[in-house]
Symmetry: C2
Subunit: 419 residues, 2 copies
Amino acid sequence: MLAEILTIGDELTRGEIVDTNSAWLAGRLWDLDVTVRWMTSCRDDEADLRAALAAACARVDLVLTSGGLGPTEDDLTCDVVAAAAGVPVAIDEGARARLEQFLSSRGRPVSEVNLRQARVPAGARVHASPVGLAPGFEVALGGVPVVCLPGVPRELHAIWEAGLAARVDELRRAHGAAPRIARRVYRLFGCGESQVSEALRGLVDDVAGASLHYQVKFPEVLVKLVVRDPDAAAAAERLAALDAGLAARVGAWTYGTGDEPLPLVVGRALLAGGHRVAVAESCTAGLVGALLTELPGASGYFVGGAIAYADDEKVRQLDVSPATLGAHGAVSEEVVREMARGARARTGAGIGIAVSGIAGPGGGTPAKPVGTVWLAVDGPGAGHRTFRMRWPGPRDQVRTLAAWWALELVRQAIGGARA
Amino acid sequence: MLAEILTIGDELTRGEIVDTNSAWLAGRLWDLDVTVRWMTSCRDDEADLRAALAAACARVDLVLTSGGLGPTEDDLTCDVVAAAAGVPVAIDEGARARLEQFLSSRGRPVSEVNLRQARVPAGARVHASPVGLAPGFEVALGGVPVVCLPGVPRELHAIWEAGLAARVDELRRAHGAAPRIARRVYRLFGCGESQVSEALRGLVDDVAGASLHYQVKFPEVLVKLVVRDPDAAAAAERLAALDAGLAARVGAWTYGTGDEPLPLVVGRALLAGGHRVAVAESCTAGLVGALLTELPGASGYFVGGAIAYADDEKVRQLDVSPATLGAHGAVSEEVVREMARGARARTGAGIGIAVSGIAGPGGGTPAKPVGTVWLAVDGPGAGHRTFRMRWPGPRDQVRTLAAWWALELVRQAIGGARA
């Protein structure tokens, strides 16, 4: 079953707001095995909206729209859809009752402008809103179900959850049997998309219904493995077999599967292992600490630490030796090693993490070009590890990547095998 | 001049990522007086992409695409566009050179997969990427300019800034005379969109060609004031008159105009004033330090400071009195005042900034609900100021907002009048 999502409004086409409804709906439809083929946005323009609806109904089996159901003159969706369906506009009595209740609770009468939000095409299936005033509605245009939803994300989500999801599932079943989908998302760090696709080349070639999909989400790469089969168990079985092959090829870059990015994965591992961590940050200036505390309950493993941007602070806060600084410079293996040790010793944490680098755009030298970052992890136990990163990118990327490498070194240090 | 933006990729139509490129480009085109009529997203599907290009070229004067220029097999844009233009695919030598340089600096050879990113339709106008590997390119399909850009937002932005904006402006002029536009973007912090729109209600009603546009970019609100007139000087004059009225109404929330968000504005002000700053962070855990160092050359004003997540660290690193902690709790005016003083005294910086709050989702109490954050700025001079924020939102929003409030307090402390 193919679908199109049509979002309506000048605020979209002028770039004033980012359309999050399309992705939200697309993700839900994908989970119901409905494939979104097109996503379209158009202005608050009657002719364009009419054209968009006609084009959509000609090329997919289900159309969802969002926007243009508000009370103002430029909200055209109801009128255009009703005209396309050849029916008049009517007031939905349920929506009118909600409106009257809402306004009377504020001591206000129902005006004609208010009432515009209760309008639906006559005879439409109404999808009442549990949280807003404008209901969603559904009509068939040329045999294709068209579901119109308000543009406010919170209202759209609530209508979906309250009953539209079930309705779409019903429509999909009526449309015919669809293959069941088994899927898994692998999260990789420390590699580029091209390295990953090279490593995985041919993996799914001879496996029926299997496909690989890549997504770069700097600084990580996501790989989605999908297997389709009329039989859910068969799809799951082939997925499990491919899972092993995938691990063999890119396991060294894979830090996890599923929804959680590295900061949350590392936070959970620290919490589970009963570790306590402190940071010593120079070029990242707090970014490692900020990432390490994204997980609620971070106080269970995160102590704090030093932002030692100036060299004096490295000495004062972390007991870095001025001699080491003088001999090797602030961006060196020797200095980050002392920083990590200092963070650990000063705070009493079992693990100290240090970062010092040249984020740029200035400050690079031939020996230490912009993008050179040294990292060190001291502990747990007596062990320590260091790592030199080189990334000739812009300042924000160097810093983000350095902070992620710090987390990755921690993950490795506490025994997080690459998945 | 009418435009269409076409974004390409299964990750969009499956709802795996929110398409921010369309809104970003639409905003830029709008600034150049190019009206986006349609925004379309399609899958990595050859036939659909071909159909989308044909439909776009039939209904607008300019097409911008994003996505499908990566190194993998499902990146089809170059092939489909070249076929539509009736030309073969060629390697762009500039992009090849960049690629070779990039990979050799990492000690890696150029593979065939890598090289796919250097492909363009033969004879296309190349829009080189200042930051990425895949260049953008432009061909004419049926007389309509089609500009293809990589899907990675950072690369797309860089190509736009480096030369594409000027090229689109050139195309627009060639397309015919358009009214001149005078515009100014005001950046507001500490207020909601509805408060701003209420405060500005009626401001432009009687001014010919003038309009106001809002954009919420959490945690700030952007207000765009636009005046259109065939005569550029007349447009500028009316804009200047409106500027004063706008300042009178929302000046108290306005921290700047133009492209730079608060972290850069504050960084420049600190640098210009010869200030030196240190931080003392609890719930933000480094976020204030990270924001303060976004500006290149931050070492000119940023010293470092303490991440004091655990209460013990507030005592150890910042000399917060255990008695104060016991009497008022870590999230209190008294404690942040001592934290800011401690950061200043310990580092010798002229300004100390402190943040302590309940980011949630747990840890709230009736007296101090989740989203309660205390901030303090000590200095410059003998003065200090404190501020209590309350924001009953999700953890990441509470932390981001708290860090921005810290910057805003610094801005006020060093005499940054609201614009």
